[in-house]
């Protein structure tokens, strides 16, 4: 819709600015808090502008962490988060693209059943199956490990469906041309399907990376060793000060740091991401 009325333009801008303010204000408050000392924030009046302790607070978090809450330095936690998010994103993509390939291009017995089994897992997110999943992971001895953090979250019906839809838009003639050109199934997958779903893979990677990075309940449950704390779960542990006030300035500094990798991924892959979501021409 293209309107050319100044009043409407103004209104549109006001709505957008309100939206930005709603999203950005908490982030700003967190940032301001992370640049003050602990006492500044407890005094009752919340400062509006950044204070002088930015470098000091961030350096402390990256270097040592908050010993009283038993969390390791933020650097370690971020690394854990990064490993977990990457394992989840890459694992999900690898598994779902191959299963979509099987479902779309092969006529094997019980194909429909396999399809519906994948479909049904949509109704069983981690939160629903958390007790049995924990039991399985514990029995396998995967508590406090990267495998335990990521594997239970890797199976993904949504990603399988996304790739199924992508594959269904690829014209049959292309498959047939490849067959005549002597490309076997795996060659077809590698030479034709993968390059054609490149943008979709990128879009999915962005979404799944953020999904993995933001995992909270599961890491909280299965990590007891501080070596495997992830940053999102770590923030919670820091805020839970047992004997004393939470050190909000440090919690907020951690929160700011925890925000950076997802932001970097989104900005870095923005162009591919948008292309992957809107591109229809194959």
């Amino acid at each position: 819709m293209i309107e050319n009325r100044p009043g409407l333009t103004l209104l549109a801008h006001l709505v957008l600015m309100a939206g930005v303010a709603i999203v950005a204000l908490p982030v700003w408050v967190a940032f301001v808090a992370s640049t003050h000392t602990a006492t500044d924030f407890m005094s009752g009046t919340i400062p509006v502008w950044p204070g002088p302790h930015l470098v000091e607070n961030y350096a402390r978090m990256l270097d040592a962490g908050v010993s009283t809450s038993g969390t390791p330095p933020v650097g370690t936690m971020m690394l854990n988060s990064l490993v977990m998010a990457l394992l989840i994103a890459c694992g999900k993509i690898a598994i779902s693209i191959t299963s979509a390939f099987a479902i779309v291009y092969f006529r094997f017995p019980l194909r429909q059943l396999a399809f519906w089994c994948i479909f049904i897992t949509l109704m069983l997110p981690v939160e629903v199956r958390i007790v049995p999943t924990f039991q399985v992971v514990a029995d396998l001895g995967l508590l406090n490990s990267y495998a335990g953090l990521s594997i239970p979250l890797i199976a993904s019906a949504t990603a399988t469906f996304l790739f199924r839809q992508v594959f269904l838009t690829i014209p049959d003639e292309l498959t047939e041309a490849a067959r005549i050109d002597g490309a076997g199934p795996m060659k077809f997958f590698r030479d034709i399907l993968l390059p054609l779903s490149r943008t979709n893979i990128a879009a999915l990677f962005v979404i799944l990376f953020i999904y993995g990075w933001n995992q909270y309940l599961w890491p909280l449950l299965i990590t007891t060793s501080s070596d495997y704390y992830t940053v999102v779960a770590g923030i919670k542990r820091m805020a839970d000060a047992v004997d004393g006030l939470p050190q909000w300035h440090l919690v907020m500094a951690t929160a700011m740091l925890a925000m950076l990798p997802p932001v970097a991924v989104v900005i870095g892959m923005q162009r591919l991401f948008v292309k992957g979501l809107v591109e229809t021409e194959k």
């Binding site: 014209p171 003639e173 292309l174 047939e176 041309a177 490849a178 067959r179 005549i180 050109d181 002597g182 490309a183 060659k187 030479d191 034709i192 390059p195 054609l196 490149r198 021409e281 194959k282």
Partner: protein, 335 residues
């Protein structure tokens, strides 16, 4: 280079629908065969069975001396050109041409030589490093043909390759395909629903209807002696007039004829002609004029010079020996 032999080939889909039945054709080495028929007549299915993209339910397909019923498409030594080109969108034109050869482990130098050669033949040299999406429809079609040429196959299979092009380009590309085939002398099977395309390209036409062969013959044979009312109505433009014998009782034709066919161009205005037609509509084509009318309750079309006199009622005569007679029940030709 090879002959292709179809022996009582049939296709039955799971569920029992019969798409093709009892098709036998002997295609000589280097021949250009066109499968033509209305949509749904099974011509594409037949081509895809030859290509190996559809399984063969009945009969045998032979390429050269080899029965290929259970041979993978890639090993049948054929190349196919698709209606929507089916170029790999993420590869450059060069890679599109080379892909099949690479899969066949052709030496690098040989691939380069063949690609360069095809590029010259099809005049796509300047586009070799572009992606298909940067090409026009006609250029894409050439690349699709190039992909077939570099394979140097025993046979080309064309599946309505010109249907996505505009009318003018279709005519030029048609001619190019004809010249190309003449030059390469590769056995070709070409599927189309366009009877004009079929007439101009074919060494021999195979007219299909409802999954069965109606007639096989050179374009002129099919045009001059259509084997059935179906072929008579399908081949030739404007279509042949097919009128019931009762509508023109006084024409001197054999008693067993049920339907009489007269081509519009075999009719002419004559003051003492045996057929009287009531004019309903006139179409001007420039060089000639098509007059549509009726006689004895049957539709009739006459092609006449555009300067011929017109009136509401015309008396028509026909060229001697130009009547086609068909059996009243089977619709087959009576000679």
């Amino acid at each position: 280079m090879a002959s292709i032999t179809l022996d009582t080939v049939g296709k039955i889909y799971p569920g029992g629908t019969r798409a093709v039945g009892d098709v036998s054709i002997d295609i000589a080495d280097g021949e250009f065969i066109v499968l033509v028929g209305p949509s749904g007549c099974g011509k594409s299915t037949l081509l895809r069975m030859i290509a190996g993209l559809e399984s063969i339910s009945e009969g045998t397909v032979r390429i050269g001396d080899r029965v290929v019923n259970d041979v993978e498409p890639a090993d049948r030594d054929i190349a196919m050109v698709f209606q929507n080109y089916a170029l790999y969108p993420h590869m450059s034109v060069r890679d599109n041409l080379a892909y099949g050869l690479k899969n066949r482990r052709t030496p690098r130098a040989e691939i380069d030589r063949r690609v360069a050669e095809a590029a010259v033949i099809l005049q796509i040299g300047p586009y070799l490093d572009r992606k298909p999406r940067a090409l026009s429809g006609g250029q894409r079609q050439r690349v699709a043909m190039g992909r077939a040429i570099v394979r140097e196959p025993a046979a080309f299979l064309f599946d309505e390759p010109l249907s996505n092009l505009d009318a003018k380009l279709r005519v030029t590309m048609r001619l190019e395909i004809k010249e190309l085939q003449r030059r390469l002398r590769t056995t070709s099977i070409y599927v189309t629903h366009d009877q004009l395309e079929a007439m101009t390209l074919a060494d021999r036409l195979v007219v299909l209807n409802a999954g069965r062969i109606e007639q096989i013959g050179t374009p002129l044979e099919v045009y001059r002696k259509p084997a059935s009312t179906f072929v008579a109505g399908f081949i030739g433009s404007p279509a042949m007039n097919l009128i019931s014998r009762r509508a023109v009782p006084h024409l001197p034709v054999a008693a067993q004829a049920g339907t009489i066919g007269i081509r519009p161009e075999d009719l002419s205005v004559a003051p003492d002609g045996p057929i009287e037609m009531e004019v309903l509509a006139v179409e001007e084509l420039g060089a000639q004029r098509l007059v549509h009318g009726q006689t004895g309750g049957e539709r009739l079309t006459v092609a006449m010079p555009s300067d011929a006199p017109l009136s509401d009622r015309l008396r028509l005569s026909y060229r001697l020996g130009s009547l086609h007679l068909f059996h009243p029940e089977t619709g087959r030709r009576i000679d």
